[in-house]
């Protein structure tokens, strides 16, 4: 099947029910998208599907069709993605960093949709992304910074 990922077409020979997460990581070697739970509870696997934040651990490859996939490896190519990454570094959000690909993808999708979110809107949009290191306070601050940038 053909998948459009970060602006490139990829021809992959995988089962229809194989989650996109494992197509990215194991077949295409794109390990920026992470495995955290496999049941869409933690958000570490978040990618964009036509700009919407989606949990790739439960997105079957066969369901993608012609929709465009964007991953953490390319999100910095968009103005908002780039601002989010810069804000993340300016506010020193990152501790272990393992959840942050998913956090950045979710935050970017939020800001594409809601350019100046309130704390309540941030909390609602980001509640699907777990951070065990507890960087939530700085994530909120970084999203506000990216929104103002």
């Amino acid at each position: 099947m053909k998948l459009s990922i970060n602006g490139q077409p990829h021809d992959v020979d995988v089962p229809e029910d194989m989650p996109v997460l494992w197509v990215l990581r194991d077949v295409l070697g794109m390990t920026g998208t992470k495995y955290g739970c496999g049941i869409a509870q933690c958000g570490a696997c978040t990618i964009h599907l036509d700009g919407q934040a989606v949990r790739s651990c439960m997105l079957p490859a066969g369901a993608v069709g012609t929709a465009v996939i964007t991953t953490i490896e390319a999100v910095g190519n968009s103005p908002i993605g780039s601002k989010v990454q810069k804000a993340w570094l300016d506010t020193e959000v990152v501790q272990c960093g393992y959840c942050q690909s998913g956090q950045i993808m979710a935050a970017t999708a939020l800001l594409e949709q809601t350019p100046k979110p309130t704390d309540t809107e941030i909390n609602a949009a980001m509640a699907g992304n777990i951070c065990r290191c507890g960087t939530y306070v700085r994530i909120r601050a970084a999203i506000h910074q990216a929104a103002e940038a």
Partner: protein, 717 residues
């Protein structure tokens, strides 16, 4: 202390790492010590510093990075004395080498116990200073000038008078041949350019664009990917699998069985996972098939009725309590806890007849190396350890159980294999923070003053398994840490530990270790004593802190910054927790709101910390914030329970984690101190739970004594 000639090349910095190829790399100080040169008071700088002829400056990190920021702080310590800019350095993990990298604080090459900065504070600065002195001497020799007239700055040595300069890369070969200085004088604080400033972390840029490689991300040519299921009951055995069904799944390559586990390996994780499901392993549950939480708690309750190993016994506390006007008693329970780092357990391994490569994120590289050496029948020096940054550790990665398992699985395979535990396997086959059952008592006089205080704690000993030499007879010092020594001047105190091992559960180090357990106990019970005395919790504590000015200072600062004493609306309450733990002083005041239905909202946290001389203030703030949220998540929701021998939790749907919409605002106030640095990695976590319980009491009048508090505990109180 003598240092032996050791060729650091062969311990794995280059072999298999592929990091430093392509140019001449004279190992700065490649020989550790010339014969007879035994007066070096620390390892040669070459253990920590590599300078290439192309001017690359590589710092070798003795501690492992799991998000706590230690790599940046350690680099700052070296760079300060070495006189290089942070932008000039590249970092590498230290290979397993106990001679070079044993932590002075821990006595082994391990990262844990919030000891990294404590252990690195002097040795890393001294390494940087020694290297700088040798580089200056090399320049001075080249230019035939007095080294005292040369100056080192930003990776260069300058001789102003003759306007000559040389880079460290140009000087490294010559410096390499010089004797390593013994005693060195370190910079005065007034001259620091890096220490005490919030330098940007060096590891974070790669973590925001998907390029950072955790253990789970390693890709090796010819690698296959597998997943493992071990007996759901500890001590159980694999009875059988449907191997044909597993192999029939497209993409499955191999099936390996151990006596208590099965691994299915395939072209990708999905094939392995589908293959494992098809294998449908059947188990003989073994002797622990009846283990259940109810029985575990009952056994602990019974065990703690007996006397324990005495940790402290001053001034007949039981007698003082017996004669006191008011007696306060409480029993507290802390559940087993899983670590659940975001990166689940994984090990990548290639075992060959003549050697092995191990790619993993571990807090204990020497133990990891030995685990594979033993499994594969190799000598440790034949095992190259590629230690990766970790997607969280929290103490989980101090153990090598999963690495031992991987060794047994991989040794029959001829190719590199990445073994990933699913989240379900990770949570249900964790090594857990012990269940603690604590009995506390105090006697107060007519004025509410504490006359005697007793604390008996019962639970598993992690120390007895992980480091038996750390035991003092039957006493586990970790089990009573922060119970034996509190910040308070208590006139009579007795502390005992009853070691009780629950069958079917292996226990391990969990962030905050003894203090996470005992700060909850001491600070909750102190609050109960204050309530019995009819006094404000902070005023009550102050009377016991007159001999502890640093503890009093953080308490007062937190009280001031949180607005303690303000009248609060109904349903809102504030709770305090004070600690001396990991050589740092911390006070935490948490404000919560409790609804009529018993729902708890965490509103804001105020923290005051005195951790001695600060290396990187922003890292300290981040660790306190993060550690606190980790601890609050635990205090609200975390509970590992057993039924029919099995852990009942498996993923984030049933092992709940605090989310961003539940996280309070946090303000951290840091005291500017020049005392010896204390630890901060676990400090915030230890401070969380007592403040939560005390705040709930303040808001509702209800005292909760069994964690977790958030999952309906109030409704049932």
């Amino acid at each position: 202390m003598t240092y032996h000639r050791r060729d650091i090349l062969r311990t794995g910095l280059f072999a298999g790492g592929g990091l430093l190829l392509g140019f001449t790399m004279p190992l700065f100080g490649s020989r550790m010590a010339k014969a007879g040169q035994t007066d070096i008071t620390g390892p040669s700088p070459s253990a920590f510093i590599r300078i290439g002829t192309d001017d690359t400056i590589t710092l070798i990190m003795p501690d492992t990075e799991c998000g706590q920021g230690i790599w940046t702080s350690s680099a700052m310590l070296i760079a300060e004395e070495l006189e290089v800019a942070m932008a000039q350095v590249t970092l590498m993990p230290a290979p397993p080498n106990a001679a070079f990298y044993t932590s002075p604080a821990l006595g082994e090459q391990a990262t844990g116990g919030s000891t990294s900065t404590i252990g690195d504070w002097t040795r890393l600065r001294e390494a940087g200073a020694r290297a700088r002195i040798m580089l200056i001497q090399a320049a001075a020799n080249t230019w035939h000038v007095d080294p005292a007239t040369c100056r080192a700055q930003a990776g260069m040595v300058h001789h102003e008078a003759s306007k000559r300069s040389a880079t460290y890369g140009q000087l490294a070969e010559a410096a390499n041949a010089l004797p390593v200085p013994g005693k060195v004088v370190l910079k005065e604080p007034a001259d620091w350019e890096l220490i005490g400033t919030s330098q940007k972390r060096l590891d974070t840029p790669a973590k925001v664009n998907g390029t950072a490689i955790y253990g789970i991300d390693v890709q090796i040519p010819g690698m296959k990917i597998g997943t493992v299921a071990a007996s759901p009951v500890l001590g159980g055995k694999l009875r059988g699998i449907n191997e044909a069904a597993a192999r029939a799944v497209p993409g499955v390559r191999d099936v390996v069985t151990l006596d208590n586990a099965v691994a299915v390996i395939g072209d990708h994780f999905w094939a392995a996972k589908q293959g494992l499901a098809a294998a449908n392993p059947q188990w003989d549950d073994g002797p622990n098939a009846q283990v259940n939480t109810h029985a575990i708690i009952q056994a602990l309750a019974d065990a703690t009725k007996n006397p324990g190993a005495v940790a402290r016994d001053d001034n007949d506390a039981p007698g003082k309590i017996a004669g006191a006007k008011t007696k306060v008693e409480a029993v507290y329970q802390l559940p087993f806890l899983s670590h659940a780092p975001m990166e689940p357990i994984n090990t990548t391994l290639h075992i060959r007849p003549d050697g092995a490569d191990l790619w993993v994120g571990t807090q204990v590289p020497v133990r990891a190396q030995k685990a594979i050496a033993d499994a594969a029948g190799l000598k440790p020096e034949q095992v190259v350890v590629h230690n990766h940054i970790m997607g969280g550790a929290f103490g989980r990665r101090l153990d090598v159980d999963s690495i031992e398992q991987a060794g047994k699985i991989a040794k029959s395979l001829g190719y590199p294999v990445k073994l990933i535990w699913t989240r379900e396997e990770d949570i249900s086959h964790d090594l857990y923070r012990p269940f603690y059952y604590d009995r506390m008592a105090a006697g107060l006089d007519a004025d509410g003053k504490i006359l005697g205080w007793t604390h008996k704690t019962g639970g598993s000993s992690v120390m007895a398994r992980w480091l038996p030499v750390g035991m003092k007879g039957e006493l586990d010092p970790d089990a009573v840490e922060a119970a034996t020594e509190t910040p308070y001047d208590l006139p009579a105190i007795k502390v005992e530990y009853v070691r009780h091992e629950s069958p079917g559960v292996t226990t391990a180090w969990w962030r905050g270790v003894g203090p996470t357990h005992n700060v909850f106990m001491v600070e909750t019970f102190m609050d109960e004593c204050a309530a019995a005395a009819g006094q404000d919790p902070i005023a009550f504590r102050r009377t016991l802190l007159q001999k502890n000015p640093r503890a009093l200072a953080v308490l007062n600062l937190a009280a001031e910054k949180s607005g303690w004493g303000e009248k609060l609306p109904p349903g809102i309450g504030r709770g305090v927790s004070l600690q001396y733990a990991f050589a740092s002083f911390l006070a935490h005041i948490l404000e919560v709101e409790v609804s009529q239905r018993g729902e708890i909202k965490l509103r804001k946290a105020t923290v005051a910390i005195d951790c001695g001389q600060r290396v990187n203030p922003d890292t300290i703030a981040a660790q306190i914030e993060g550690g606190l949220i980790f601890g609050l998540s635990m205090a609200m929701y975390s509970d590992i329970t057993h039924e029919n021998g099995r852990v009942q939790q498996s993923n984030f749907n049933n092992y709940r984690n605090l989310r961003i919409d539940e996280a309070p605002d946090i303000k951290v106030f840091q005291i500017d101190s020049h005392e010896h640095p204390g630890g901060i990695g676990e400090t915030g976590t230890a401070a969380a739970s007592a403040a939560l319980g005390n705040a709930i009491f303040a808001a509702t009048g209800k005292r909760l004594r069994k964690l977790p508090f958030g999952a309906g505990a109030l409704q049932n109180a």
